[in-house]
Symmetry: C2
Subunit: 297 residues, 2 copies
């Protein structure tokens, strides 16, 4: 696999599924142009959706962060592009991308944890992507860790992603600012809504106490989540990826590993490697390419 070009377009979920799918189609056309290709030269499109996906039909059953319910993503996007489209859950597809292109050792069992707007997971069992009975496995972001914890986009409380995702960190920071706590972020940004993971890294490195506390708490929750998942699954390799890990791995990794060791059952972590993906935000598109290649050959 070779990365020939990328284009990034904001989701604009508030405009509704049809508009988002139009934007995805535009993004695909622009990326193909960026790669000096034409649509006629494309065999297929692989796409990761942030929620439960019915893999064969390519429908997104539910994506809380987009407020999507039963959206025929594959069908609509195929119509817009005139190309075969393959849809998987975003965590699964990112795990596939990491496993196929990044892990040279090809461990039998691998768990991918991708931390961004939400938290997605993907599981490789016996060298193959494990998607469960109805293609919905890997929804680790909605594992409840704290039953009376903060509200999650899915409607429950205390989900993993309501405690440790970028959204969760931003929410805590915004609340703290409203309560009068000081942070460099208010100087660094004219609009807090434009805050990104990289801003947290900058503020952290400049000694911002609020950001430090929020990032370290999130890293602790990530460690507890890793421990739960290692207790349940005992994979050989745990890969941490996504935009948050790309920006903040230096600040978070040692806390995640220490907390995971602290919470995991003795024995469960023996020989288990916890590594950070170097694909960063590209894990998903890499997995998308792997999926499209597999499905069209």
């Amino acid at each position: 696999l070779e990365l020939l070009g990328t284009v990034k377009v904001s989701t604009k979920a508030q405009r509704g599924p049809d508009a988002v799918i139009e934007r995805i189609a535009r993004c695909v056309r622009d990326a193909v142009d960026e790669a000096d290709l034409s649509l006629k030269e494309i065999r297929g499109v692989g796409i990761g959706a942030p929620g439960a996906v019915d893999g064969d039909a390519g429908n997104v059953i539910f994506a809380p962060n987009l407020d999507w319910h039963d959206v025929a993503l594959k069908k609509q996007l195929e119509k817009a592009l005139g190309l075969p489209v393959f849809v998987e859950n975003d965590g699964n597809i990112a795990a596939l991308g990491v496993y196929v292109t990044e892990l040279k050792s090809k461990p039998r069992h691998m768990l991918g944890i991708f931390v961004g707007t939400g938290i997605g997971g993907g599981l490789v069992v016996g060298g193959e992507l494990y998607s469960g009975f109805g293609h919905t496995a890997g929804e680790i972001g909605h594992m409840v860790l704290e039953m009376d914890g903060p509200k999650c986009g899915c409607g429950n409380k205390g989900c993993f992603e309501a405690l440790a995702s970028r959204t969760a960190m931003f929410q805590r920071i915004k609340t703290a600012i409203k309560e009068g706590q000081k942070t460099l972020l208010t100087e660094m940004l004219d609009d807090l809504e434009k805050m990104r993971s990289g801003d947290l890294r900058k503020a952290f490195r400049r000694g911002d106490k609020l950001v430090e506390g929020v990032v370290e708490d999130a890293a602790q929750y990530l460690g507890v989540g890793v421990a739960n998942l290692v207790n349940i699954l005992n994979p050989q390799v745990v890969v941490l990826g996504g935009g948050v890990m790309e920006a903040l791995a230096d600040e978070m990794l040692s806390i995640i590993v220490e907390t995971a060791k602290d919470y995991a059952m003795p024995g469960a972590m023996n020989g288990v490697e916890i590594v950070v993906s170097s694909l960063g935000d590209n894990a998903g598109i890499t997995g998308g390419a792997v999926l499209a290649k597999r499905m069209t050959k």
Copy 2:
């Protein structure tokens, strides 16, 4: 497989591993006698241990409810009995027993949840017992559900089994009685330490409000635990077993199922069956027989 005879001996964990292993050996000898057989006619012994097990060596790495650390169970028991002994985690072995002898449909992916003194889990993936990289998979009892929850035998707080096992229910009842709450259990039993799951069923059916509340709360936590695991694993069948389910399935099952549906991501529970094992407390010994048979043929 045919059950020829059973014998049950209390663990007496406080006497230490050597004494417990002596008791296990006595239990095996008595069970063989009960079945009108002699030790010479036995090909092998299968055993489920409540904790992390190094399957090949047969060492129990850690069993919090016994306070065992690195106990050479296989080696010591083989010496005591003069027979080959095979050790697995108790949740794994119970899942194997249920899958092989009870589930006629042979689903590709099955999750077993066994609720007793602790909570054990066992996972069948693609028709095979999944034990992970280092044989420790399935430790679902130590999945943290409530980070500031009650203390668990493992040292953490708010583990699944600290919220929903028989031990957790008994603990809540004992605390409530100390705080002056009324319950039929104090009339029914002269020694609360001798309380069993069946006593909870009797008190529940006689309208005991305290027991009703405790059992229903535990059922809710079980439902949240099931939802977490279905979100992560999306198995085709979830089997609930163990002594607590054997005694209290009528009281707990509908709450477990409703809570699991409520907490699981939309789509994740589609077509997923939640069933109660009819093997009850015999799931473990059935799996032990399956394991010994497989390993000695």
